[in-house]
């Protein structure tokens, strides 16, 4: 693999403070001459677990695509800033825009296949990609949204219960909250307090896909055994209503955790973005 800029930090900060986001830009050996692809991972994972170990970065670079993978705040190799503002979805989107430009993405120009940016998200990353596409239509060319939610499961997280549990072991009554916290604690690279800050910020800005709808073509992908597959047509209807070309792909036998390695998912995304 040539031209791998591991750990490149973005050079400009938005709104004064450095969000300490880890950015990994990987150049293909044989460049297809197409726009770069921004990868946004899910809650409680990282660009390494979500995109690298699953074979996505290899598959994309072998297809000639330049990849920009970002670790969300408090995740993977990114920092865990103390201020709550660093975790708000709107602030993260502003930082992503700056990162994309610093990594060489340029606004879409008619007839220039190297202009613009394609975005692939998974789960929480798909929420961010949806909103990013809706607000950055001069930059974003196409979207691939994996395991997409119609509402934010994190918005219902019982934060006080999680904090009590972490402080003195008081059991958490809500199963969803207990499950999410257990998942967050499985990975040693997670900063648990940073993840709680992210949840707090998401509760302040819960996902409302109808509020702003991306107008560009989008591919929605979910595992057949992921409950999100059932609600995917709702997102598709929102996109279609806004005039976007929407395709859907359901991966047989897969759930929310193991859909991400699927060959059919990768091939579907590469073909959908290869125009």
């Amino acid at each position: 693999m040539s031209g791998r800029h591991t750990g490149e930090q973005h050079q400009h900060t938005v709104e004064g403070t450095d969000p300490q986001l880890y950015v990994n830009v990987v150049d293909p050996q044989d460049d297809a001459g197409l726009r770069p692809v921004l990868l946004l991972h899910g809650f409680s994972t990282s660009s390494k677990l979500n995109w690298e170990d699953t074979g996505w970065i290899t598959a994309l670079t072998q297809a000639g695509r330049r990849v920009i993978a970002v670790d969300l705040p408090g995740h993977g190799r990114s920092g865990a800033p103390e201020d709550r503002d660093s975790y708000s979805p709107s602030r993260i989107r502003a930082d992503l825009l700056q990162i994309a430009f610093d990594a060489g993405a340029r606004p879409l120009r008619d007839g220039d296949p190297a202009s613009g940016l394609d975005v692939i998200g998974y789960s929480l990353g798909s929420r961010l990609a949806w909103e990013f596409g809706a607000t950055q239509h001069e930059l974003v060319h196409r979207l691939v949204l994996g395991g997409p939610n119609v509402a934010d499961p994190l918005a219902a997280f019982d934060l006080p219960a999680a904090q009590r549990y972490l402080a003195d072991g008081t059991p958490i009554a809500d199963d969803s909250t207990a499950g999410l916290l257990k998942m967050a604690q499985l990975l040693p690279s997670n900063n648990i307090f940073a993840l709680l800050s992210l949840i707090e910020a998401i509760k302040d800005e819960p996902f409302d896909p109808a509020e702003a709808v991306p107008p560009m073509p989008m591919l929605l992908v979910a595992g057949e055994k992921d409950e999100r597959a059932a609600s995917m047509p709702e997102l598709a209807a929102l996109g279609s209503k806004a005039g976007a070309l929407v395709e859907q792909l359901v991966l047989p036998g897969r759930n929310h955790t193991n859909a991400v390695t699927s060959r059919a998912f990768k091939q579907g995304a590469i073909e959908f973005l290869g125009v």
Partner: protein, 109 residues
Amino acid sequence: MAELSFPLPDLGEGLIEATVLEWLVAPGDQVERNQPLVEVETTKSAVELPSPQAGKVVRIHGGPGEKINVGEPLIVFEVPDDTAGIVGTVPKEEAPKRRVRLSAVLDED
């Protein structure tokens, strides 16, 4: 020709087993080094394992949904005799990476 067997590698973080999701190669296939071989899932995440070896696939172990323990056979390749002689000396990549890498079992003949 000789056979060269690779076990399920240590996937880190104290994981002792993985479940096969889907094989991306089949017996008889000629594969390149680093070509994706199989998707497996642990209790923490799903990963795609790249081939540690170029060669013809002779056997694969574990169908979709089956568990394999770390260290148990995963895949067997057919390789020229002279290649089998240098088992275990898989060439290094340009930069060290924390990527899962299969390693050879030496007791196969």
